[in-house]
């Protein structure tokens, strides 16, 4: 297998995903198959090839850093899963 169950647990922790045992098992199998199929990339010699992160050819556009959007704190807070007046309520961060 291209990936072990231990690695799946480690990646899930990095990605902040809690997985049920059945999900861990399924993902170990799925990711294993996918990574095996993707191993064909290693057959290509790319030692002299520069990576492409963006296809953009135009220069990045710059603009002045000025506030353009109107304040919308009520609309933003309306989406909060938990709020207290004009504050977001969050679980305790520091023990």
């Amino acid at each position: 297998m291209a990936i072990t169950r231990e690695e799946v647990r480690r990646i899930a922790a990095l990605a902040r995903l809690r997985l049920e045992p059945a999900e861990e098992e399924r993902l170990t199998a799925d990711l294993g198959h996918i990574l095996e199929a993707f191993a064909r990339l290693s057959t290509l010699d790319t030692s002299a090839v520069a990576p492409t992160a963006q296809v953009e050819e135009d220069r990045t556009a710059f603009r002045d850093d000025v506030v353009a959007n109107p304040p919308a704190s009520e609309a933003l807070l309306a989406n909060a899963p938990a709020r207290d007046g004009r504050f977001f309520r969050v679980p305790k961060i520091i023990e």
Binding site: E7, I11, R26, L31, R40, V55, E56, E57, D58
Partner: protein
């Protein structure tokens, strides 16, 4: 007499402008149509009849006052539910955003409104646009209007199905690996993925930021051109939106392909394709030759590496983009006493299986020890794939291919094996990796009566030529006049 909902977008807008029909009548007719068919199609997740009627009334007042209502004035249009609409729920097809109401419009939404369009509602899609069949939506099932047992394609399946079922005259989708073109092909309508940077991504919920583009779906190529013209162009809120001027795409539709050089990539007509699809595409190529185009074989030799390259880059970008769903400021929260437990429980409950799979794959590809072997390698192969297209398009004005190896498949047919589903994108993903424009349009029907999609791929920022070829083909054929069963 043609029903209002069956009119092309251009004809509907022209009638509003000539005061032969009011925007209010068009919108009422669209909602009557939606009420009649959407129970069966399932294209919409959210409808906004009150908002649409208010917009229509405003358009009617402008027309009555002798003002120009805009190129899309009064026309009912649907928007994929991954594109923000101020005050109107936007879910990305995910439980994690099921109750999310944006405080602002995406730039494309604002530009539709500025052009006079009436937004009727939000269209179903695969969760966070991750999928090829719309079966990954957590919020509903969309069915293909040509056959309710089949998928509409994805991820913009609601957009393709709504346009094909005459529920709106056009729709916006997004295309990261084929998500506009595949549903257009499976639903027998036209859809364009613009050049990366042609259309602003501001306010579009991000999946893979170096690949995502917004594109129009409509029943005719000329309608796609009109919508593209309305949404394209630079945006101060998206630094990747190109400052190049937006040409008149409608003016490019002169009905002629004479003298154009078209490439037929040999890697795109392969063993294992559905024979009807190959026949349909070859017949379309012959038709384009008959119309005066010169067709020659070309090669895109790195095609076989495209699926792996795409699914490593897209998932890596997705794992980063989706890190923002943490249950703090918006979206779902699964309450837990401690912060990390809350993050993990919220994301476990809020994301579906495919989204988790892609976050996991992307996190793995970016993680220490694997970055060079997977993510960096994929970025290098992306360069090779892009070079293939640069070489082919140095000789040819455009490339002609199938959109997908098959017509619409059955609901449930590919959900068990993620790799099989990924292969549906084999002819569309390379275009996103190379950042090129590509149009999907119908070029026939298979033995079961399902539409076959033709893909026309162009040079960067040459949407005009791609649309011109599609339009000329459409003028010479009858496929786009066929409608899905009522």
């Amino acid at each position: 007499m043609t029903a209002l909902h069956a009119l092309s977008l251009r004809e509907a807008a022209a009638r509003v402008r000539r005061r032969e029909v009011s925007a209010t009548e068009l919108v009422r007719d669209a909602f009557a149509r939606i009420a009649a068919v959407d129970g069966r199609v399932g294209a919409f997740l959210t409808l906004d009849e009150a908002g649409a009627l208010a917009t229509a009334a405003a358009v009617d007042r402008r027309v009555a006052a002798g003002e120009d209502p805009g190129p899309l004035g009064g026309v009912p249009i649907g928007v994929k539910d991954i594109i923000c609409t101020a005050g109107l729920r936007t879910t990305a097809g995910s439980r994690i955003l099921e109750r999310f109401v944006p405080s602002y419009d995406a730039t494309v939404t604002a530009r539709l409104r500025r052009a006079g369009a009436v937004i009727v509602g939000k269209l179903n899609c695969d969760e966070f646009a991750m999928g090829s069949s719309t079966e990954n939506s957590a919020l509903g099932t969309t069915r293909n209007p040509w056959d309710g047992a089949r998928v509409p394609g994805g991820s913009s399946g609601g957009s393709g199905a709504a346009v094909a079922a005459h529920e709106c005259h056009a729709a916006l989708g997004t295309d990261t690996g084929g998500s506009v073109r595949l549903p257009a092909a499976f639903c027998g309508v036209a859809g364009l993925k613009p050049t990366y940077g042609r259309v602003s991504r501001y306010g579009v919920i991000a999946y893979a930021s170096s690949l995502d583009q917004v594109g129009p779906i409509a029943r005719e190529v000329a309608d796609v051109a009109v919508v593209l013209e309305a949404i394209a162009g630079h945006d101060p809120a998206d630094s990747t939106a190109s400052p190049r001027p937006v040409p008149s795409y409608a003016a490019a539709l002169d009905g002629s392909v004479r003298g154009l050089r078209l490439g037929l990539p040999r890697e795109y007509l392969v063993e294992g394709m559905q024979p009807d699809v190959e026949r349909g595409v070859r017949a379309a190529v012959a038709e384009l030759e008959r119309l005066g185009a010169a067709v020659e074989p070309v090669s895109l030799p790195h095609t076989e590496y495209a699926i792996a390259t795409y699914y490593l880059i897209a998932t890596a970008e997705a794992s980063s983009n989706l890190a923002r769903y943490d249950g703090i400021r918006y979206g779902l929260r699964e309450p837990r006493p401690a912060l990390t437990e809350m993050y993990e429980a919220t994301r476990a409950a809020g994301f579906g299986a495919e989204v988790k799979r892609r976050i996991m794959l992307g996190t793995y590809a970016l993680s220490a020890g694997y970055y060079d072997a997977y993510y960096l390698k994929a970025q290098q192969v992306r360069t090779l794939i892009r070079r293939d297209f640069q070489q082919a398009l140095a000789r040819c004005d455009a490339l002609v291919t199938p959109v997908a190896p098959t017509t619409a498949f059955r609901l449930g047919e590919k959900t068990a094996d993620p790799l099989t589903m990924y292969l549906s994108d084999i002819f569309t993903i390379s275009v996103n990796l190379a950042g090129l424009p590509a149009l999907a349009l119908p070029c026939g029907f298979d033995g079961a009566g399902l539409p076959i999609g033709l893909q026309v791929i162009g040079r960067p920022f040459d949407e005009a030529t791609v649309l011109r070829i599609g339009h000329a083909y459409e003028q010479a054929t009858e496929w786009h006049h066929r409608s899905a069963p009522p």
